[in-house]
Symmetry: C2
């Protein structure tokens, strides 16, 4: 039995039947990666704030098949279908890619939005096989619009797929900056433990020694092990807790793109290292290079890293505006509303 | 008396009156920057190959005022107006910016395309004043579409202007790769002499010493001093000469974005240094990082530069495909043709 999240305070068992246009959000995570959870929260905030005419309905990825069947029964041409954004289009996370293919190739008569993603099909036999399967599934849907969240992914999507591709930042950058006015002390290392990890443990050890001058040092990951499951009901509180944690640090050292995004939102100095295929690096150069308190590096020279960290810690906060970079998505949905007779 | 370049082999004094839709290309350079000349040639190639229904008419920037008056007399709703692409939107090259404003704010009832540009208004009083003048001029035209050629410029255009912004590479990357099968020998330094120059002469001197092991070393700029003037009549030959010159080098050392583009097209190893506001750097990371024989650096450490150059010189050529990245521009013009009843 599938739960739908029509409000974020409760899970419903049935889909609403009414005349409001629906925005069906497939692929919503129940796993404990706070970055991916923040993406799903930001998507909802974006649609509910910018296009309140839509009734926003979330379907967990674990309910993908049952959700597709239920949506099929009530969908009309004024409705929009979507699949969640993130950094998992490609062959590295096949569960997500398979769920995405099924949604895209099912609702071929509706505007279908693939929220901002980065993409990576490996250049090997398995990668090429999976890429072909995705190409076949995506091209069944003439109303599918892919959104790339960095220019490298924009190039890759345009050369891989025949679908229309637009270019916006990661949805989490839609959130406004927050200021909890908490006292800052210490350094937080936010590090991955997955196949995308490339930064060497020995380098992290040296950076710890560098920062260990009476300053508290902590280590965490944006993938939580303190809870078993995160859904639309409890995600916001956990994300706010994480933003408050970030707001108490002097510096974040990370190889997680969303740890950099949380640092942007909270005004926390942050140094980002690369992952296996450059998704954080490219998104940084595309959207965030002008924000003074965050930086990207591939450097292994400790003196240079030291200089960069010292500079970041001293940086003054300033205003920034990334909201305008969602204009291509705004236009897409506005155009859909105009075409379906609901002028805004 | 204004010359129009209705064909590139002759300059006409009068505009044609016929039923073909016209593509008016304003801002065409007559100065001797081969990068900017290549942009204007590439724009023409793009429209003539992809949308042959248009009659393409070039108007030199030096004839901007007279050209505007002449076009006003014959323009109809099926025609497209454009202003040339490049790296000069902003307050650093005010002659170009003023000509651009005048075109945009005049043809407010026609689809108006600002070909791929990078943008830089300085953060000082003069920069802000000029930015305001550009905002006032651009917003008069509801049919103006700006094209950014790198993600940094995409962000800046979207936060600066209310106009629609799309994202494609520099037009010169529309050209196919060329192979003149010439013998390669020596290193060519292609260096700017303008206000955007940031790479230190002492560093260039050291790189010369590094490469000076029996290898011929030459120095040039993509701004020619061997001719006084380049127009649509003589530009192609001069660009081909330049591509042949590049095709004879083992390595190009440059701070000119279009020298990197010529290196891409000719399969010539190339190391690009930055300019004053990152236009080459961003375009490199956005479109070209996957091309093995070119690289970007901000490095000042000679050992690291040496390693990077040695690696570039040894690189094998491979196929690449940047053509798909022009899809947003393709769609824009296709949509215009559909709307004006000329289905393709």
């Amino acid at each position: 039995m599938t739960d739908f999240y029509i409000e974020t305070t409760k899970a419903d068992k049935t889909l609403p039947i009414n005349s409001r246009p629906k925005f069906f959000a497939f692929g919503i995570p129940s796993y404990t990666n706070l970055g991916d959870q923040a993406v799903s929260l930001a998507q909802r905030a974006y649609i509910e704030h910018e296009f309140p005419e839509f009734q926003y309905i979330e379907i967990l990825e674990e309910d993908n098949d049952a959700g597709i069947e239920a949506v099929k029964k009530i969908i009309t041409s004024q409705d929009i279908v979507s699949f969640v954004g993130g950094g998992n289009m490609g062959n590295l996370y096949l569960d997500h890619e398979r769920a995405r293919r099924k949604v895209f190739s099912t609702f071929v008569n509706n505007l279908t939005i693939s929220f901002p993603q980065s993409i990576h099909f490996e250049d090997n036999e398995q990668g090429q096989r999976e890429q072909k399967l995705s190409q076949e599934a995506y091209q069944k849907n003439p109303h599918l619009v892919l959104i790339a969240r960095d220019a490298q992914s924009y190039h890759r999507m345009q050369t891989t797929f025949n679908n229309h591709v637009i270019f916006t930042p990661d949805m989490v950058l839609y959130f406004k900056a927050v200021d909890y006015s908490l006292k800052r002390s210490g350094a937080l290392f936010v590090l991955r433990h997955d196949g995308e990890k490339v930064v060497k443990e020995s380098l992290i050890g040296s950076i710890k020694q560098l920062l260990d001058n009476g300053r508290p040092l902590k280590k965490t990951d944006t993938v939580l092990d303190s809870v078993d499951r995160i859904t639309p009901i409890n995600r916001e509180k956990l994300i706010v807790d994480e933003l408050k944690l970030f707001s108490q640090q002097e510096i974040i050292i990370t190889d997680r793109w969303h740890a950099m995004v949380f640092s942007v939102l909270t005004g926390t100095p942050c140094l980002l290292f690369g992952n296996s295929y450059g998704k954080g690096k490219h998104a940084y150069f595309d959207w965030l290079e002008h924000i003074d308190w965050i930086g990207y590096t591939d450097e292994e020279d400790l003196d240079r890293i030291d200089q960069q960290i010292s500079k970041l810690i001293k940086t003054k906060k300033h205003a920034y505006d990334i909201r305008a970079d969602f204009k291509q998505l705004d236009s897409l949905i506005k155009y859909h509303l105009e075409m379906s007779g609901r002028n805004i």
